[in-house]
């Protein structure tokens, strides 16, 4: 039986990046790497990756098995159908029991619909879950693309891993400008350089950093990499409306009040809240809870094993596209904190909820 090898929910990684950002080159590298020997990779075209010399067996028109053990498929029509087909073949034992799927998205695509498909499809959501989003950014053209294309910004903002490609071709000044820009858009995703000799393909799909709380050793106290606190705009690069900010909350958060507020925010502005990521001190809980959302989609919250350090304040990173940051903070203060159930002296005597129930 091959079933025990298959995870309960197979992660689906998304590989995205702007046109010409080195996505395909990275993909070709992924396909040959033993780290992905247990993966199925969905690509747009067989032709563009040049698989012939890796080919072991052709399963059917859309599926081939590679030397590394990796299963490679092209998507024809709907992505959801392609994934369902893979799932069905795996269940029937027609293909090796892959334990992860990597999906290549087209250069101009907004990555969100793919994630949404996985969460909303009635079949897929019981067998798969969204994994890391890997975004490639070209060191030579990246800065310009980020300055002029919305898609490019969105791809960088939703990334769990940012991969800078062609770093060897770009002058050092360009490189540091790009890194700064990327940090402004997405402060917490680990940034990897594809040309770095230490670059390890396994790091791209590894979720330890963001999800498994036990592995949490970050000195920043954040459950992911330290969010770089950027100095506020000094008149410099500010063409894009995509901004990120960190909200630090002193008081323990009521999960329900927070949930109602966040669902309300995402219902109205989900397409502009590119990411929400945070570690929350929930009232009545010893351990912190990690939340992670991409636009309308919020991943299942994770109870972390322990606090990373002494700091017990909640920290939430928001990456927003064109929302008023100050207003968002005020809204959070006004609505997301349940003031009626906390007993300490700092709490106002009459809360909104009490008013409601006593009126």
């Amino acid at each position: 039986m091959t079933e025990p090898q298959i995870p309960l929910l197979t992660p689906i990684n998304l590989l995205t990046g702007f046109l010409g950002s080195g996505k395909t080159t990275l993909l070709a590298r992924l396909l040959a790497d033993p780290a992905l020997s247990d993966a199925a990779v969905l690509i747009n075209e067989f032709g563009e990756v040049g698989l012939d010399h890796h080919l072991v067996e052709r399963i059917d028109d859309t599926m081939v098995l590679l030397q590394s053990g990796c299963l490679c498929c092209t998507v024809r029509g709907e992505l959801a159908d392609a994934i369902k087909d893979l799932h069905s073949k795996r269940e029937r034992g027609l293909v090796p029991p892959f334990r992860r799927i990597v999906v290549e998205s087209t250069g101009l695509a907004d990555p969100f619909p793919v994630l949404s498909t996985i969460k909303s499809d009635p079949v897929l959501r019981h067998h798969f879950r969204p994994g890391n989003v890997i975004t490639t950014v070209d060191a030579v053209n990246g800065l310009r693309q980020l300055g002029s294309y919305v898609e490019s910004n969105r791809q960088a903002a939703v990334a769990d891993r940012l991969v800078v490609t062609k770093a060897d071709l770009a002058p050092a000044a360009d490189m540091s400008g790009l890194v700064e820009k990327l940090r402004g858009i997405n402060p917490d995703a680990p940034l990897l350089t594809a040309t770095d000799p230490a670059f390890d393909v396994a790091d791209l799909v590894d979720e330890n950093l963001s999800l498994r709380a036990a592995a949490l050793q970050s000195t920043s106290g954040f459950y992911c990499e330290a969010p770089a606190q950027l100095a506020t705009a000094d008149g410099g690069v500010h063409q894009s409306a995509v901004t990120s900010f960190v909200m630090i909350v002193e008081r323990a958060i009521d999960w329900t009040a927070f949930g109602i507020w966040l669902t309300m925010l995402l219902n109205r502005h989900g397409d502009r809240v590119l990411r929400v990521k945070g570690i929350l001190n929930i009232a009545g809980e010893e351990r912190p809870v990690a939340i992670h959302g991409v636009q309308h989609l919020v991943h299942t919250p994770v109870h972390m094993e322990r606090w990373p350090d002494e700091d017990r304040r909640s920290r939430i990173v928001f990456i927003v596209d064109g929302l008023d940051v100050e207003l968002l903070k005020r809204s959070f203060e006004a609505f997301a904190l349940d003031r009626s159930s906390v007993g300490d002296g700092a709490v106002p005597k009459r809360s909104l909820q009490e008013r409601q129930s006593s009126s």
């Binding site: 309960l8 929910l9 959501r125 009521d254 999960w255 329900t256 009040a257 949930g259 109602i260 507020w261 966040l262 669902t263 309300m264 925010l265 219902n267 109205r268 502005h269 929930i282 009232a283 009545g284 809980e285 809870v289 959302g293 919020v298 991943h299 299942t300 919250p301 994770v302 109870h303 929302l323 008023d324 207003l327 968002l328 005020r330 809204s331 203060e333 006004a334 609505f335 349940d338 003031r339 159930s341 106002p348 005597k349 009459r350 809360s351 909104l352 909820q353 008013r355 409601q356 129930s357």
Partner: protein, 110 residues
Amino acid sequence: MCSLCGVLGGNEHWADAVARPGVYTRNVERIDRRRERANRVRIANGMLARFGLTITDWQGASFVLATRTGKSEIIEDLGHLWPAAERLCGRPCDPLDVDLIAAAEVAIDD
């Protein structure tokens, strides 16, 4: 009990946190689960009052959302709350609405 759960059934909304190995269990402590539901109704009502809506628990399985004139809708979980609320009250429920925030801030400062 984990403060993230509290609902029985095949609920997939993130605010309910799905019971999966290593995440949360929800097959124990029924009283706590009901208490959590009551708490949700209380907090949601505080928010919905601003739009002239009320929410009540229905049999511990769903919620009934209603306007002051009695127009109502059954919702499965809080994930369906806001789209339904907007349908019923006929206007957007926007947490970034300046007037809405200002009103809440006044209430807090009392």
